[in-house]
Symmetry: C3
Subunit: 484 residues, 3 copies
């Protein structure tokens, strides 16, 4: 164990400090939105709304819960594929997300939901907070196994801040559309995380190569994460779209894109293996790229076949990325991308931004209807004179801004995280839960280093027949009762 990875005071103090700050800031700034306030009944009369169903809660809550599951179970379990890092994958994701949503409620509130100096909270804020945290979970994927929980909390603090600034620039200044967050969440999160991991480059990780791989059932746990992300992605991309057709359309497009993505991911995974075998890494990750890439355009009139085409190519590109790009990034650019987020969020995120820009630029009254077009792109008020072409151009600006923010922010935060006192583990202890977790003793099993002098065959005769006998015993911790 590295001498400096003892979190005894570092982690508790960080957590308590941050949480106290949250309490104080919420006390000063956070109140309920009118839809969640006891004054709702009078408000209803004022708006003369007849039904409680008009309360935003009923429009958004089911989507919120789906998004919530994606952030905590989806991302959390997706990262449990490492054989000895499941506790940290799920546990640290849980920790950073729990802090992140609070900080995001404040940051986003200051930018978007300030009413006479109070932040008003409603279900939409909760969804946006989860969205913001999703970009931190993405970045976590790049540094998984190499950072301490303290570092993760620091990273979350800064990334949420930058995310909110970037989101404000895109949505409010550039007035881009980004329902599913291809740019704000995925592109930003991925390149932020990749920059951080580059700066935290660890030269001696090959010592832990073996721990960087999965084992049979850790891959099954990871599939829980994959499937919940995949299934609920339509809710993710539609959660904050306009009521009615936009939300409806966003769900359909995402559903289509994801379906197509699965087939092409499987196709490439098999085609790229010399014996045509499938690789769990691709099934767990590349199959999701379609959801990322359709994020911006999901609520637009992309058309079902358009969504399929997006998913089609993302499955291919993402799988190729896992096979060729990730090793290249590591060896050449010293970017150690544990979960391959560049293939799942980085490239698909950029593609999503471009697809969104093109879809917006090509939007026409013929397809949207005059009213629909104006409504879908808010071509009213300050934007009344905008053309779809202009919208498309600004979409591209938004993408570039996100990339710039991610790189700049990543560098700054990376340098901060390099400071030696955050309790990070030594290279040889990376990807190992035992550094930060009390691990249940399984004293029936021990670790033997692969000492070359201990190879079978070095030994005397009786061994040879013994080999098949014992080597055919599968083992695991699902400790069987030794029935007397």
């Amino acid at each position: 164990m590295a001498w400096n990875s003892n979190l005894r005071w570092r982690l508790p103090l960080t957590c308590l400090l941050l949480q106290v700050a949250m309490v104080v800031l919420f006390g000063v700034f956070a109140r309920y939105d009118l839809d969640a306030d006891a004054h709702w009944r009078t408000e209803k009369q004022r708006r003369n709304v007849s039904s409680d169903l008009e309360n935003e809660f009923y429009y958004r809550y089911p989507s919120f819960q789906d998004v919530h599951v994606m952030v905590f179970v989806g991302f959390g379990f997706l990262m449990t594929f490492l054989q000895r890092y499941g506790f940290s994958a799920v546990g640290f994701n849980f920790l950073l997300a729990a802090f992140g949503i609070q900080w995001a409620l404040l940051m986003q509130g200051w930018f978007h939901h300030l009413e006479d100096k109070y932040i008003v909270l409603g279900v939409e804020n909760l969804i946006n907070a989860d969205f913001c945290v999703a970009s931190v979970c993405v970045a976590f994927g790049a540094v998984l196994g190499k950072v301490s929980p303290v570092q993760l909390l620091i990273m979350t603090l800064f990334q949420v801040t930058l995310f909110s600034v970037n989101e404000f620039i895109l949505l409010n200044l550039l007035e881009v559309k980004d329902a599913g967050g291809s740019m704000t969440i995925h592109t930003f999160g991925a390149y932020f995380g990749l920059t951080v991991t580059r700066i935290l480059y660890r030269p001696n990780l090959e010592q832990t190569k073996e721990r960087q791989s999965s084992v049979y059932h850790s891959d099954l746990f990871a599939m829980i994460g994959t499937l919940f992300l995949w299934m609920y992605w339509p809710s993710f991309n539609s959660a904050i779209s306009y009521h009615g057709d936009s939300q409806h359309r966003a769900a359909i497009n995402t559903y289509c894109s994801l379906a197509a993505c699965v087939l092409t991911s499987v196709a490439m995974s098999s085609a790229l293996h010399k014996k045509g075998k499938l690789d769990m890494v691709h099934i767990q990750n590349a199959t999701l790229a379609g959801g990322v890439a359709v994020g911006t355009a999901a609520e637009m009139m992309l058309m079902p076949y358009g969504a399929l085409i997006v998913g089609f190519f993302c499955g291919i590109i993402s799988t190729l990325g896992f096979v060729y790009l990730t090793p290249f990034l590591e060896s050449r650019l010293q970017i150690q991308d544990t979960c391959g987020i560049h293939n799942l969020h980085g490239i698909p995120g950029i593609l999503g931004g471009i697809v969104g820009a093109v879809t917006a630029a090509c939007a026409s009254p013929a397809v949207y209807g005059q009213e629909g077009l104006a409504y879908s792109f808010d071509f009213q008020g300050s934007k009344v004179d905008w053309t779809t072409r202009k919208q498309g151009k600004f979409q591209i600006f938004g993408l570039l801004v996100s990339l710039a923010m991610a790189l700049m922010g990543g560098i700054i935060v990376g340098l901060i995280l390099r400071l030696p006192f955050w309790g990070q583990a030594a290279d040889e202890n990376c990807f190992d839960d035992a550094v930060y977790w009390e691990i249940p003793e399984e004293n029936s099993i021990v670790y033997i280093p692969e000492d070359p002098t201990l190879k079978p065959g070095v030994h005397s005769a009786p061994l040879v027949p013994v080999v098949p006998t014992i080597s055919s015993i599968p083992i695991a911790a699902s400790a069987m009762p030794l029935v007397p």
Copy 2:
């Protein structure tokens, strides 16, 4: 490994070919339903609907997401009970479902949602596509472990087609009611799958007997599937019922039936074991039979006690089936039913059809109210002169048609799948992920007996003490295939 199970080109080509076909067909045929189209706003005015909540999305979306979870996590994990087939269970289910929903959107669209030569897609289509694929997942349960992914895609292609034809005959020609799909989904899916597995009969499977069993934690993974199926089944049976009371009632009836089914399944499982012990296979499967059997009648005035009675008997019958029928089918009829779908979907499906017919035949204005009766069974327009008795008769016809279609279709598809070039594995390699998946190597850790006298070097122990040691090693499904 069988020489012919290399999928290197077979699987990629099949996937890409199918996906390209989907893209083209969606391009030619698929558009958005008005509720999901940018013209919704003008449509709203036309229908003079005041609230966006009247958009079908808000009636159906939560149910859709629950159904979606059942198809991908429910069926996928339910089949992970095999000790060395978890990757394939989840992965292939993922693959076939992702393809199936696309093809189902088209097939069902042509039959039910064609508007001036375009298929219009809305949330209801997504639900129906998931339903259709559910019947393929059911059939997958029968052939689990014995077919290649290429065969599964071929099977899906044909089964979805036949499903849609059968569904059209039942719902549009015979005008039967089948909200939860006891007939269209479960009966059809089960007997289709059983016929296919019969035709693909493998005489030498006893070689793999050991791999056909579960291990401790593979049974826990399977319980994830079971519980999500069980919990969301009320959404499944109510997802496409009429708005309001029908949907509400369908959920209640399913909830009741499933609850009763659990108790009787447990009772039988214990009663049929010589020491009164419970069998995970029964808990994982028989507990769900109640949801299948209440499928058709769920939206009818079955009454809560009626639902309980249905669940009561299904739990008993299904468990008996696992204990007595499945072995009989295998030994006598050469039907190798891996997951015992005959007990979970076959018999309960038929029962569900019958229960639905009887419930319909016994429907009366006294119970439904005059208006309610006409509305519930669409006794208007072409059916204005129908009696409940006639409805009941047609329900039975529907059941018989489903059975006939399943058997016929199963024979044809089975024969197609018997062709030697689909990459199927040899008998001795069935139920083994290693055939189609890159399996993580797990050879870095060894077992050391707790007995202090057995420390290396301490002694020149004969193997005698070692053997018990080894046989007491906890073992689990992460069981590595014994690669020759």
Copy 3:
């Protein structure tokens, strides 16, 4: 194996008897609520409701499904942390909940939903039934591993009955508010279970110490339970609140409280470990305490920062409880609390009751608005002259009544469960699935070659060379290395 733990006839008879009773009672008493009855259409006209959306189903169903998941997957998997008790944790929770919801529908129906001698069932009844069962799941956590399924069914029968009586006293006689059930569900369930486990005290459990701990992947399974409980808790606390702002507010408050709770739990877990390492037990349980403690006040104007404060302290108190209180209770008071429910439901439940009382007592027109205040606390009809102070006082009475009922009931039920013929296991067989479950044979996988020269004892291989040989044994990730 204990001679008396054979359930061959006990369990089947208990299940069948109870289920038959349910069928009969449902037949006599249970019907559909008007919202779920075919007469809904006429009812709609009567109430002149224009939209089917006004059907209660659409207000409550999504919350219901979330609660349903918490009861079956949440509680079920949370208890799979024990290394050899996963089947029982999930399976028995499934069994008791399936029976409990039926019995709860009747008991609560008689108290709250009787319309001319019929219990009318709607989605709200389903939610309340799940709530009632949740308190049984809580109690199950205390006796986990030490009782037979027969005992659990008996316990459920009595606890559901007492729960309903207690709930009636609180909600109808004392007219307290308890949306999330801090008092009715958690306090009652926890102290009921603790009393039962005290009376069922087993002096020789240290024999099973090893089986009372977790193993690596059983802790991951438990995290599935934790996360689904954590994520859906906002739905739990808001499921039966008044439409509109109350439901909306309850979700927000719970979301905030839970988030804060995670950070303080992590902080304490690390601070209390000599090397600052985190303990899975705390992450799995203490992180949820915030949801319990905000249960009563969730729908009140607690304010977001109020919720954060509640979560803040609960995380600390709960973690302290696991470290210091649980061992004390076991050694001093002979209360063997397997899952530490006293820390997750007991103390937080009491705190929740107090927080609710204080929040109610401090409610003011300034915060709620005149109308909002009257509406939120039903200060109309018989309560028209109530003050918030009086409401607060009655909240405290409610808490005390719940505690009294729990202790009294626990004593009675505990004594009943002590009778020797319920098939309970001997002390040395506690926490072992093998007592009640057919466990997949796993040492059958050990393959011993036929070669007689390989029979144990035939050869004298020194163990040293054997070690590396064995080192080629495949192992699951759950096998933790003892780090050098």
